[in-house]
């Protein structure tokens, strides 16, 4: 099942993107829901703060795996970041995605568009942990 939505380059799009992804994913174990929420928030934040363009969020659930991709129209490239300093206020977003996802990556096409995606293998939902 695949769904997509486009969001405005506005901070309020960050919680909207989280809710969109969680609604698209459906029932999911709480621990995974929390991790996915954080990763979506980080990627949406990158789009809003750095690209400052509309961005599209694509959610693909297939064969027990979740793939989320965030595409903006900003210039520049995405690079993997080293672990942040404890006292540093910046540079945590992609590091967090790297740590919480099973895999992540970037792609760019001709023209001003770049995507960051991550995948997570979904655990079987247990009624006591599903939300």
């Amino acid at each position: 099942m695949k769904s997509a939505r486009t969001f405005l380059p506005n901070v309020n799009s960050i919680p909207e993107a989280r809710r969109f992804v969680l609604a698209a994913v459906g029932r999911i174990a709480r621990e995974q829901r929390d991790a996915v929420s954080v990763m979506v928030s980080e990627l949406a934040m990158n789009a809003v703060q750095h690209a400052r363009t509309r961005f599209q969020v694509t959610v693909d659930v297939a064969n027990g795996s979740l793939r989320v991709e965030v595409t903006d129209s900003g210039a520049g490239t995405v690079t993997a970041q080293p672990p942040p300093d404890a006292a540093s206020l910046r540079g945590r977003g992609l590091f967090i995605v790297d740590q919480l996802s099973d895999a992540w990556g970037t792609s760019s096409s001709t023209g001003p568009a770049k995507s960051v995606w991550f995948t997570v293998a979904l655990n079987a939902v247990n009624d006591s942990t599903a939300q």
């Binding site: 991790a35 934040m45 703060q49």
Partner: protein, 113 residues
């Protein structure tokens, strides 16, 4: 008590968070409830700053009601950690604890339990 954002979450609104304070002896306790993200991080930081007394040696940040936090919340905690020598992060959810640990913030915060 400072309530930031509308009650509940509107489809196009900012995230809702409540910042409350109380004291345990001379130690201020900040209680965060709701969702902390870029829509409200700046105001949460200001609210905490206003609640801090000059020369506070210790601060407790109670997070059992914090349903969501991303790196903008980590930035708030890192900022506050520069103002107060000892910060205890109390009752973080598993994901908040994980974020604090994997980003190295746990080295400068006292996480309990």
């Amino acid at each position: 008590m400072a309530h930031i954002g509308p009650p509940g979450l509107g489809p196009s609104g900012q995230s809702s968070i409540t910042v409350e304070t109380r004291a345990e002896g001379s130690t201020p306790v900040i209680i965060l409830s709701g969702e902390l993200d870029l829509t409200n991080a700046e105001r949460v930081q200001s609210a905490i700053e206003e609640m801090l007394t000059d020369g506070a040696e210790r601060l407790v940040v109670e997070t059992s009601g914090l349903q969501f936090m991303d790196s903008s919340g980590l930035a708030v905690l890192a900022f506050v950690a520069r103002k107060v020598p000892v910060i205890e992060l109390r009752d973080p959810s598993p994901i908040v604890r994980r974020l604090v640990e994997l980003t190295g913030l746990a080295q400068i915060l006292n996480v309990r339990p």
